[in-house]
């Protein structure tokens, strides 16, 4: 299967990093991957997003027209990307910041209170890792072990960060798994 995942949010919410970790994990698992950021005007004070493709086959276009999954960290992102998701696809919304209901009925939707969970863990900065966990659980694009390994490789010089981030990822997964129950 080919996962075509778009992650979007405010500039500071760390969606680009989450996308990179996802791609990194995919690579470590010997899959074909690509990561493509938005860049430019929307970055300054506006929104940021990236497209991650994880696939068994060589990747053609790194640009995603119809995502299989979308992560919306804030309302403008949901408004922008929800309409393009493939029927039957996944929409993960950061319910800490989005109270509006998505108006598509043909999707699998997860609401993850990422900021609250991050605050519970005691580090408001890891909301994006909570979402990473949610994506993993919701799409199976990569394994959680792959994601954790990717994190540890990328931040090899900062081992102090490992525990809290792993915790955040697992809490995000739980959140989706519990929702599925």
């Amino acid at each position: 299967m080919t996962h075509e995942i778009v992650m979007a949010g405010f500039g500071g919410q760390g969606v680009l990093l989450v996308g990179q970790l996802l791609a990194y994990a995919g690579m470590l698992e010997e899959k074909q991957v690509s990561w493509m950021p938005s860049y430019g005007p929307e970055m300054r004070g506006g929104t940021a997003n990236c497209s991650v493709i994880i696939s068994e086959e060589p990747i053609g276009a790194p640009i995603i027209a119809e995502p299989t999954a979308v992560v919306a960290m804030n309302l403008p992102s949901m408004d922008k990307f929800a309409p393009s998701i493939k029927t039957g696809g996944v929409l993960i919304i950061n319910s800490s910041l989005i109270s509006t209901e998505p108006n598509r009925k043909d999707l699998v939707i997860y609401k993850v209170p990422a900021n609250e969970i991050a605050n519970e863990i005691g580090n408001s900065k890891v909301a994006n890792m909570v979402i990473l966990g949610a994506v993993i659980a919701a799409t199976d694009a990569v394994t959680v072990d792959g994601a954790i390994k990717a994190f540890q490789k990328k931040f090899a010089s900062k081992p102090k960060m490992f525990t809290v981030n792993e915790q955040a990822i697992r809490r995000g997964m739980e959140c989706v798994i519990n929702a599925g129950k």
Partner: protein, 67 residues
């Protein structure tokens, strides 16, 4: 009575007005506006002396000061 008014939807939560107010009555609130910024607010209109320093300092012309 002078008082500042904040056009919150325009505020970017930079905090420059907080520093600028000689009466220390401007603070960042806990509210977020639609753009995701914590917005500034006046915590005690009564103390305002109408110096407009908050307004002049605000890069985003968020603040209007009324007499």
């Amino acid at each position: 009575m002078p008082r500042p008014e904040f056009r919150e939807e325009r505020c970017k939560g930079c905090g420059l007005c907080v520093v600028a107010c000689p009466k220390k009555i401007v603070e960042l609130s806990d509210r977020f506006n639609l753009k995701g910024y914590r917005v500034a607010t006046c915590i005690d209109d009564a103390k305002c002396i109408g110096c407009a320093l908050c307004a002049k300092t605000c890069p985003d012309v968020v603040i209007e000061v009324y007499k």
